[in-house]
């Protein structure tokens, strides 16, 4: 079975059109980012973020109103994940008033909407539950510990108890324990899935670090390609990956995905992939230029792209399968991360063929005659020398 055997597509005929189309896409993305802005997560802005699960379908509007009534106005409240799981995501920006202190407990109190001071069985920790049960008639301290453990283990599975009947149904929980709980606890409407609080100072620091990571890796790759090929090629590769990053930022802004540290990691991975694809094509161009010093540059590039076309397609497709699986089955926590890669791989594959390679021609049109000499410059990797030796001896 073969994909694209012996293709002779004239990619370079499309060079100008593609570069124009890409330029428009980049400008549009920049415009989208400028107009809509990026949805920065609390890691960069500082603030608090909570994921809670409700027992019944949550009323997001009521949650927003309740938080606003408590003065928490810079909020984002949305449902998250499978609607059947009744999960709500809450994000509060850092304001001076909240900056020094994690407001999670205050938020939970507002969401519970009760002044009942008894512990909430959906939020209490094991020690609290065990403590309550220890006083129950007919339960020894050892029993209390064991029952509390069983209840907490069940909560880990079910996430939330809707009523005490859910607790009574747990194997190993005697009715004496239920009686004790009935008077000692409430069963609140929600359970806490996760919470994060990032102080404003940490946020500023993480922005700096993310910027350093992105700029540093781009410069690092530029330097490496410069070393292995030449400066113009490195620049073409970096322009191609800037194109990828900007287009993805546009999509990211358009779909209101949240920017976080894992997303920055995804962007850098995307950058790595995009450069990979570009390097594969460049490697082949360099090889062909060496073996056919008389060939004209655009047709050499065309041949290089055609010969690597099945590799490019297969690799992109396989990697895409992998990140698609991550996108579909990886859960909410990894969704923005895999979003970048699912779309980024498509954009990155396009850019290595239709952006990086045409740029080589555009920048080289004038000195095209010297192409051969320039390309076979000083950088000769050992592997290639070895490869030539094999060819001559074999």
């Amino acid at each position: 079975m073969r994909l694209f055997s012996n293709t002779h597509i004239d990619f370079m005929r499309l060079a100008r059109a593609c570069i124009a189309a890409s330029a428009i896409a980049v400008l549009a993305s920049v415009a989208v980012v400028v107009v809509r802005g990026l949805n920065m997560g609390i890691e960069f802005t500082g603030g608090t973020e909570l994921q809670v699960r409700y027992g019944d379908r949550p009323d997001v509007g009521a949650v927003r109103a309740a938080l606003a009534a408590a003065g928490m106005t810079s909020q984002v409240v949305t449902t998250i994940g499978d609607p059947a799981e009744h999960e709500v995501y809450i994000r509060l920006g850092s304001r001076e008033a909240d900056a020094r202190e994690n407001p999670t407990e205050r938020i939970l109190a507002i969401l519970r909407g009760t002044t009942d001071s008894r512990p909430d069985l959906n939020l209490a920790d094991e020690a609290t539950v065990a403590g309550l049960l220890a006083g129950a008639p007919g339960l020894s301290a050892e029993d209390a510990r064991r029952v509390a453990e069983a209840i907490l283990a069940a909560r880990r599975e079910q996430v939330i108890f809707r009523t005490l009947d859910d607790v009574a149904a747990i194997p190993g929980v005697p009715s004496a324990a239920i009686d004790a709980l009935a008077s000692g606890v409430t069963v609140g409407p929600l359970a806490l899935r996760s919470q994060s609080y990032i102080g404003p100072a940490v946020g500023k620091e993480l922005v700096t670090k993310a910027q350093l990571a992105v700029v540093g890796s781009m410069v690092g790759m530029l330097l490496y390609i410069w070393l292995r090929f030449q400066f113009q090629w490195g620049l073409a590769a970096v322009v191609a990956l800037l194109h990828d990053v900007l287009v993805m930022l546009g999509l990211f802004s358009l779909f209101r995905q949240e920017m976080s540290l894992p997303v920055v990691a995804a962007f850098l991975t995307l950058v790595g992939y995009s450069v990979n694809d570009t390097v594969v094509v460049f490697d082949r161009i360099r090889e062909l230029v060496k073996s056919q010093p008389s060939g004209d540059f655009p047709s050499v590039i065309n041949e290089a792209i055609n010969r690597t076309l099945s590799r490019t397609t297969i690799t992109s497709f396989l990697t895409w399968i992998v990140v698609l699986a991550l996108f579909l089955f990886g859960g909410e926590a990894l969704r923005p991360f895999s979003f970048v890669l699912v779309f980024g791989i498509i954009v990155g594959t396009y850019s290595s063929i239709f952006v990086a390679s045409p740029l080589l021609i555009l920048w080289r049109r004038a000195p095209a005659k010297r192409a051969g000499a320039a390309v076979s410059g000083d950088a000769k990797p050992q592997a290639e020398r070895r490869a030539r030796k094999v060819r001559t001896s074999g």
């Binding site: 450069v275 699986a325 991550l326």
Partner: protein, 545 residues
């Protein structure tokens, strides 16, 4: 071709696989799950270095004041003008040598000079300041460790973090509700004794005077302005009618005994059987305390508890005798409160202000869901890739699948071996959710190398080369490209690992390990598998690829 090198190479591959497998199993002992997968709390605290310096300055101010007073060296005031600087004002120029001698004794390594007009200034040198800061962090860390240990959290992690090491990272696996623990960890539990500044109009017995219930009123009693050396602190009191209220105490700015002076504390009961806390002071503090109590016989001294910014008076007894290094605190505690306070005092105070600057809690139910999601997506991706490779490259696809599986074993083996490589065998590698994502991406990266090689072999075959030469040249020509792609991605991953924190670093580490493993499996292992086939069928004219 002799098959001896091939046997050795295969033995090497088997050896590497076995070592990796040995470091992987049993996985639950080798690989730690991160808090995002097992549930738990992550807390990052910032130690306030500035207030550590301020405390040291306060201590010096007190000591200096007592020494000058004891030795009868006249001076108008001792003022801490800023953290790290103390000025002695209005001294007698004829006692210059005596003052210099006392300054040398109390602030040996400080820079002390006369600044004119009988005023002296002593400044904390930089290395002294740094030492104070480091000690503040170390003592905070030690205190937090003792408190966590006494709380019985299993496998806690506490370490210094941050560029200047002024942060403390705390990880508490399995702690779902960090509220209670946060209170205990953050409470500076600084115990201080301060002498009262009685208002000029108090009249009569200093033992029966009691402060008013408003800030304005106490300022009014001082005639509208507090003396320079006095500050107002709130304190809770139980009123005669059984309700509680707040009064405002005018206290000396300088503490007689500060946070670091406590040697031990226990819950005890006072002569009426009420819960109280007994304490012991260090020798040095005991001497200062003795002097202060002698000075304040028959007057009140306030006991404050709290942090540098929110101290409250918990009780203000009348000093009935000279106390040296032991005493008792009655604050209307119940038994649990007294027990908790004694625990906090015993485990040491936190010598300065600490703020929680980052806090993350993942419930165990979410962690469990994340593991499932990670495994499902990893398995789905892996199966999809394997299926494609087997269909598209037929027998050579088996080769790729073996290389991929080996790659994953190598990544886990390397994660398991990391602690040994870095000499901390007590520490285990931690697998986080982004780490799993990195692992899944490695599958994509590793399969790319196989595709590069296989496509190249096909190309060489279509040029009419023999099977052997096509395999040789396919690998040789693809190598440069594989090398380039791996280096460029590693460059990006290195920057991530360097600037990333926590989970992102886990992602980068997994990715880098995976890339190295992929160079080995896709280039070396895959090649030897082809060699095995070529060795069996040396004259084969076609290759299943």
């Amino acid at each position: 071709m002799s098959n001896k090198p091939l046997v050795w190479k295969l033995a090497l591959i088997a050896g590497v696989t076995l070592v990796a497998a040995a470091f992987t199993f049993p996985p639950q002992d080798r690989i730690n799950l991160g808090l995002d997968l097992r549930g738990g709390s992550h807390i990052l605290m910032q130690v306030d270095l500035e207030s550590a310096v301020r405390y040291e300055t306060d201590r010096v101010q007190t000591t200096l004041g007592q020494v000058l007073k004891a030795d009868g060296i006249p001076h108008a005031a001792i003022v801490a003008t800023e953290p790290g600087t103390v000025e002695v004002r209005g001294t007698d120029p004829s006692r210059r040598a005596d003052l210099r001698e006392r300054l040398d004794r109390v602030v040996r390594s400080w820079d002390a000079d006369e600044i004119g007009g009988g005023n002296w200034r002593a400044t904390m040198p930089t290395d002294y300041r740094r030492a104070v800061e480091i000690e503040a962090v170390d003592r905070t860390l030690a205190t937090i460790r003792r408190r966590i240990d006494s709380l019985g959290v299993s496998e806690p992690v506490t370490s210094k973090a941050g560029i200047d090491g002024s942060r403390i990272l705390i990880q508490l696996p399995g702690v779902e509700d960090p509220g209670r623990i946060k209170d205990i960890l953050q409470d500076p539990a600084i115990l201080e004794w301060k002498a009262l500044t009685y208002p000029p109009s108090y009249g009569g017995d200093p033992g029966t005077w009691f402060p008013p219930a408003s800030r304005e009123e106490i300022v009014a009693q001082f005639g509208g302005a507090l003396p320079d050396d006095t500050e107002i602190y709130p304190g809770d009191v139980r009123l005669a009618d059984g309700t509680s209220g707040v009064v405002f105490w005018p206290l000396k700015r300088v503490s007689t005994v500060a946070g670091s002076d406590l040697r031990n504390a226990f819950r005890t009961s006072d002569e009426w059987g009420d819960a109280a806390v007994s304490f012991e002071l260090t020798q040095d503090a005991g001497r200062r305390f003795e002097a202060a109590t002698r000075e304040n016989l028959g007057r009140r001294m306030a006991i404050l508890l709290g942090g540098p910014t929110d101290k409250r008076v918990i009780t203000a007894p009348v000093i009935e005798g000279v106390i040296r290094d032991q005493g008792i605190i009655r604050g209307g505690f119940d038994v649990t409160e007294a027990e908790d306070l004694a625990l906090k005092l015993r485990s040491g105070s936190i010598p300065t202000d600490v703020h929680i600057i980052e806090e993350r809690t993942v419930g165990p139910s979410l962690g469990r869901d994340s593991i499932r999601a990670g495994l499902t997506s990893g398995l789905a991706g892996f199966l999809g890739v394997m299926l494609f490779m087997l269909v598209y490259y037929r027998r050579a696809g088996i080769n790729a699948v073996v290389a991929l599986l080996l790659n994953i074993v190598l990544v886990f083996g390397a994660l398991g071996a990391l602690p040994f490589l870095f000499g901390a065998s007590g520490v285990r590698a931690t697998l986080t959710l982004p780490g799993i994502a990195g692992l899944i991406l490695v599958i994509g990266m590793a399969v790319d190398s196989n595709v590069l090689v296989f496509e190249r072999i096909r190309e060489e075959l279509s040029l009419g080369k023999t099977v052997r030469s096509a395999v040789e040249q396919g690998f040789a020509k693809a190598f440069a490209t594989i090398f380039d792609t791996h280096v460029t991605t590693t460059v990006a991953a290195l920057f991530l690992g360097f600037y990333g924190t926590g989970p992102v670093r886990g992602f980068a580490v997994t990715l880098i390990i995976g890339l190295i493993a992929s160079m080995f499996t896709a280039v070396f292992v895959s090649r030897q598998l082809f060699e095995v086939v070529l060795h069996r069928h040396p004259t084969a004219e076609t290759l299943s690829i």
